[in-house]
């Protein structure tokens, strides 16, 4: 009962200084929402990567030459096939293309001629040399649509035009934004691949537990190669986004520090008015513990309100409006930046971390100043 009444008093005491406290809550909620936006966004991207890449190639073998990624001889395919537990082994053909007109980079990918259509494509897959299927980003950069021609300059400075037979849906932007799909033959001709070379090799391994063993065997057999396992792909994404969110949190912790200073100042610089009030409370029979509890409730009211508001704002910002305030930070120099709608992955862990990151400093900042206020001598009130 007592606690509720002290909460009641804390509320009316906060209301008595409502402008000051409202501005405090606003700044606090803003800080929370920035931090929460970062966490929500990166977590959602991470989860998306994990969910989407579950069927990614088990093992990719690259050739490394003089420390650089090099085209791999297709002769390696047969060596790899001899390893026990290995299923299908085939080359991948892909590469990058800088489009001078739009100043953007595309990713070219050569596919088998007879690939079935995919769900997230309007139109169809390229079936012969002069056809291509492109991502939304490419289509928008080139102002083209299905049926139009995509004109590209090949390595001999010849302009070659491809007929666009399909465009990826916006829903797949996170995967396909900068893709230009063409047939393998088309791609090899376009980039003028030396015969007997591919970009890298995809290896299927029957038993997922054996992937690293197979990788080790490949590495031993073909020392100039670099096998990349699926688990490493996940790990990369995990660390990229952890690192990224950690980095951004570290940058934005400046905001947190600034806020803590504000909180400290607010709590330490208790006005004469407040000091007088606390003296009166002590004189009419409030104990130090009661006043500390009062201050505790004041802190809880402010931080809880700010936390909940901040979380809500962050959720709306990231998942309903696609994080307009954070995309510049994410986007960087990329000309093609996917407009993606994130799947709202949220778990309690995120909320827990945000709460701890923001509430702990606030509580810590207010405890000593509020104690200083609490020890006011009640006798002071008698003397006026």
């Amino acid at each position: 009962m007592r606690h509720l009444k002290i909460l009641e008093y804390a509320l009316s005491s906060l209301l008595r200084r409502k402008y000051k406290n409202l501005s405090l809550v606003a700044v606090y909620a803003f800080t929370v929402s920035i931090l929460a936006s970062i966490l929500f966004l990166t977590h959602a991207l991470k989860r998306e990567a994990v969910a989407v890449f579950s069927d990614a190639p088990d093992l990719i073998v690259q050739k490394v030459s003089a420390g650089r990624h090099d085209l791999i001889p297709t002769g390696y395919l047969d060596s790899i096939r001899t390893i026990a537990g290995v299923g299908d082994v085939h080359p991948r053909y892909w590469g990058y293309y800088f489009d001078a007109m739009t100043q953007s980079n595309f990713t070219f990918l050569g596919i088998n001629e007879n690939l079935a259509g995919l769900e997230l494509v309007q139109g169809r897959m390229p079936a012969e040399k002069g056809e291509c299927t492109i991502g939304q980003g490419v289509a928008q950069a080139q102002f083209t649509g299905v049926g139009d021609q995509l004109v590209l300059i090949d390595s001999r400075r010849r302009s070659i035009s491809f007929r666009i037979v399909g465009i990826f849906d916006a829903a797949s932007n996170l995967l396909s934004n900068d893709l230009v799909l063409m047939t393998q033959r088309g791609l090899r001709e376009f980039f003028d691949f030396p015969s007997g070379r591919a970009t890298d090799i995809v290896v299927e391994v029957y038993n997922p537990d054996e992937i690293s063993t197979v990788a080790a065997k490949i590495k031993k057999m073909l020392p100039d190669t670099r096998p990349i396992a699926k688990a490493e792909l996940f790990r990369t994404y995990d660390s990229v986004f952890n690192w990224r969110s950690g980095m951004m949190l570290t940058l934005f912790s400046a905001a947190l520090v600034a806020f803590s200073i504000l909180a400290w100042d607010k709590a330490a610089g208790i006005s004469g008015d407040e000091k007088g009030e606390i003296g009166i409370l002590k004189a009419v029979g409030w104990d130090i513990a009661d006043i500390l509890e009062l201050k505790f409730w004041e802190g809880i009211v402010i931080s809880l309100t700010a936390l909940l508001v901040g979380l809500t704002v962050a959720f709306v910002h990231v998942f309903l409006f696609n994080a307009p305030l954070l995309t510049p930070v994410l986007k960087g120099w990329s000309v093609l930046f996917p407009t993606f709608r994130l799947t709202p992955y949220i778990d309690l862990y995120q909320v827990f971390v945000i709460a701890l990151l923001t509430v702990t400093p606030y509580v810590a900042c207010t405890v000593i100043p509020s104690w200083k206020a609490a020890v006011t001598d009640p006798e002071m009130v008698m003397r006026g």
């Binding site: 009962m1 007592r2 509720l4 009444k5 002290i6 009641e8 008093y9 009316s12 008595r16 008015d273 009030e277 003296g279 009166i280 409370l281 002590k282 004189a283 009419v284 029979g285 409030w286 104990d287 130090i288 513990a289 009661d290 001598d377 009640p378 006798e379 009130v381 008698m382 003397r383 006026g384």
Partner: protein
């Protein structure tokens, strides 16, 4: 237990800022006894130690030496939170300044001493309402205190002092900021409390109060010592 032992001070000294250049000796070897139901006036010029003595009696401060007994319990050495408890249960205070929380409303100001007590919100409210009625403040329960007149503020302060139903009412210069009419109202209230059997201790140098018929005893103070007692 003897009746005599409601409040007792034995050889009490009070020194402020001891050992520092601004050391002040507020009380020297003060002894007195206050019986239940008594109205006692501490009389003396400002700086004679009245307020210091009141705060010691009212468990607001601890003596530098000597003993203060409230119902035979030595309060001089109690930790502060026990002092607070005793203060809350035993004493009601009327301060020279009204010491109200200005921007809070009347009801809240009156209920102030009840917040840290273990009773329900409804009960707290009920008690505050009852005392509001008694002082004719019901109509102003939601008014902010700083919008009230001086007399109303005085009544709020008294109502707050009485809400815990204390045995002892301590008033420090209660008429200092009041005109004659309001002082008479106050005296009326105090004598009513006296009739109810409450102990009242008043520090004042206002003749209107210490010459009032309800006063049982006048303790004359000078330079931190008790100069004499006038039983009236």
């Amino acid at each position: 237990m003897m009746e005599a032992g409601l409040i007792q001070a034995e050889g009490v000294d009070k020194i402020y800022n001891r050992g520092k250049p601004d050391e002040i000796r507020a009380l020297t070897n003060v002894s007195l006894q206050i019986k239940p139901g008594e109205v006692v006036v501490l009389k003396g010029p400002s700086g004679s130690g009245k307020t210091s003595l009141l705060s010691l009696i009212g468990c607001m401060a601890r003596p530098t030496s000597g003993r203060v007994l409230v119902r035979d319990k030595d309060v001089a050495k109690l930790p502060e939170r026990f002092l607070t408890q005793i203060r809350r249960k035993t004493f009601g205070f009327i301060f020279q300044q009204f010491n109200l929380i200005r921007k809070a409303d009347v009801l809240e100001n009156i209920a102030l001493p009840l917040f840290p007590c273990n009773m329900t919100m409804a009960e707290t409210r009920e008690r505050a309402e009852a005392i509001l009625d008694r002082f004719g403040l019901s109509g102003k329960r939601n008014r902010k205190v700083h919008r009230l007149s001086g007399g109303e503020q005085q009544r709020v302060a008294i109502a707050r002092a009485l809400i815990n139903n204390p045995e002892v009412l301590i008033a420090d210069e209660p008429t200092a900021h009041l005109d004659r009419k309001l002082a008479e109202d106050l005296a009326e209230i105090l004598s009513a409390l006296h009739r109810d059997g409450k102990t009242v201790i008043i520090a004042t140098h206002d003749p209107f109060l210490y010459d009032h018929p309800f006063v049982d005893r006048i303790i004359v103070m000078q330079d931190g010592r008790i100069e004499g007692v006038i039983p009236s």
